[in-house]
């Protein structure tokens, strides 16, 4: 199939870190794509048709192929469009990248969002527990420009879309300085480096709008 016949569509949502990271990868690799914004929570018939099992964004449609789950989509993109590789070649390095990616979307997301908002053991404990997990990432990025090494990679996109451009907005709305510079110099340096990357800059949800949204969701969780 020639370039002209390639069709790439992405169903996403402006506030979703899961769809934002896919955009980062497509932009980094210079892949032309059509973006379809879902007006969540009103899911389009197209979304429900393409992802009947989970009914979630992102969904990548490449020609006639439907790709689901952001981590899997990123790996697929990396295998199809070879420019600017985002996954390491070495199997061990790759296993580590996958491990940290899971850690971010599971441990960090749970502790830094739901657990923090519910604060069943109190706010200070919740903050401490979140910071304890973030310290692992602090160590992981020490001495490197990016988690991926010298260039932005898979883990940077996952961590970036989730932490500074999503969870941090919640923390700001709650008046929490979760990753202060003196405790997390490396993560803070990494965030600044990340924000300079062109492929990332266009994929950052507008700050105030995101703070408002995350705060609203927190309210819903608290009152549930």
């Amino acid at each position: 199939m020639t370039e002209k016949e390639e069709s790439v569509k992405l169903l996403g949502f402006w506030a979703s870190p899961f769809s934002r990271r896919v955009e980062m990868a497509l932009k980094l690799k210079g892949v032309p794509y059509e973006y379809l914004e879902e007006d969540l929570p009103n899911k389009t018939p197209l979304l429900l048709e393409l992802n009947p099992l989970h009914k979630k964004v992102p969904v990548l449609v490449h020609n006639d192929k439907i790709l689901l789950e952001s981590h899997l989509i990123l790996e697929y993109i990396d295998q199809i469009w070879k420019k600017n590789p985002i996954l390491p070649q070495d199997p061990y390095e790759k296993a580590m990248a996958r491990f940290w990616a899971k850690f971010i979307d599971e441990q960090i997301l749970t502790l830094g969002f739901r657990s923090l908002v519910k604060a069943e053991k109190g706010r200070e404990v919740a903050i401490e527990e979140t910071r304890e997990m973030l310290m692992f990432l602090e160590k992981e990025v020490t001495g490197k420009d990016f988690f991926g090494g010298k260039t932005i990679g898979f883990l940077d996109m996952i961590a970036g879309s989730m932490i500074p451009f999503c969870l941090a907005r919640l923390w700001e709305g709650m008046g929490i300085d979760m990753i202060p510079g003196e405790k997390f110099p490396e993560l803070n340096r990494w965030i600044k480096t990340l924000e300079e990357v062109e492929a990332v800059r266009g994929c950052i949800p507008p700050r105030d709008k995101q703070i408002e949204r995350m705060t609203k969701i927190a309210e819903t969780i608290r009152s549930a």
Partner: protein, 219 residues
């Protein structure tokens, strides 16, 4: 280069079973070390400090954690025989999607089946059956999830079979009557040496779950 492979594991773990199968599929010599989860070894705590869970695969001193990550790692390192994942990127994404589905949905549902009672158990049982039916439908008429060859999704799922008699006993139902095609697939997988060697006796698992259930559901 010396290839030292150690697997820290716990015999009834359906996750550990995946890694055992993958290593055997590839003919990798490995040292199996049984962990006492009430008394975790210093090595386990050192190699998996974040989760402190089994299985832990230690290859030449370096740990790889999470069974699904381990299986992919094993496939990539020992790539010369019995490929576990397809080489086509789209088929690979599909295989990984289903393994991910099993991890996200099946584990939580099955837990409700043996660790709860009453309404919660009924709800769990309903979910569990629905998930198995979804998987059965994905299998379709193929011999294995990936097609003609035993692979990634088969490895991700097969270990749960050893817990089936326990689920049936505690929630009072027959899995085979709900998903007969899936049970036929199980029987086919059991004929494979790597699987037969890696799965414990379901009767022993039922005894184990029986003891465990007492902690969650006091009689």
């Amino acid at each position: 280069m010396a290839n030292e492979v150690i697997l820290l594991d716990f015999w009834p773990s359906m996750f550990g079973m995946r890694t055992r199968i993958a290593l055997r599929e590839k003919g990798v010599e490995f040292e199996y070390r049984e962990e006492d989860l009430r008394n975790k070894s210093p090595l386990l705590l050192q190699m998996n400090p974040i989760h402190k869970k089994i299985p832990v695969l230690i290859h030449n001193g370096k740990p790889v954690n999470e069974s699904i990550i381990q299986v992919q790692y094993i496939d990539e390192v020992w790539s010369h025989k019995n490929p576990i994942l397809p080489s086509d990127p789209y088929q690979r994404a599909q295989a990984r999607f289903w393994a991910d589905f099993i991890d996200k949905k099946l584990y939580d549902a099955q837990r409700k089946v043996w660790a709860t009672k009453g309404g919660e158990q009924e709800a769990g049982k309903k979910d569990f059956i629905e998930i198995l039916k979804t998987l059965e439908s994905e299998l379709g008429d193929k011999p294995y999830f990936g097609g003609d060859d035993f692979g990634y999704v088969d490895i991700a799922l097969i270990g749960f079979y050893t817990w089936f008699p326990a689920y049936e006993k505690f929630a009072n139902f027959s899995i085979e009557s709900e998903v007969p095609k899936l049970i036929a697939w199980v029987k086919k997988c059991l004929q494979r040496e790597s699987v037969a060697k890696s799965l414990p006796d379901p009767e022993k698992v039922t005894e184990f779950v029986s003891e465990l259930r007492k902690k969650f559901v006091p009689e």
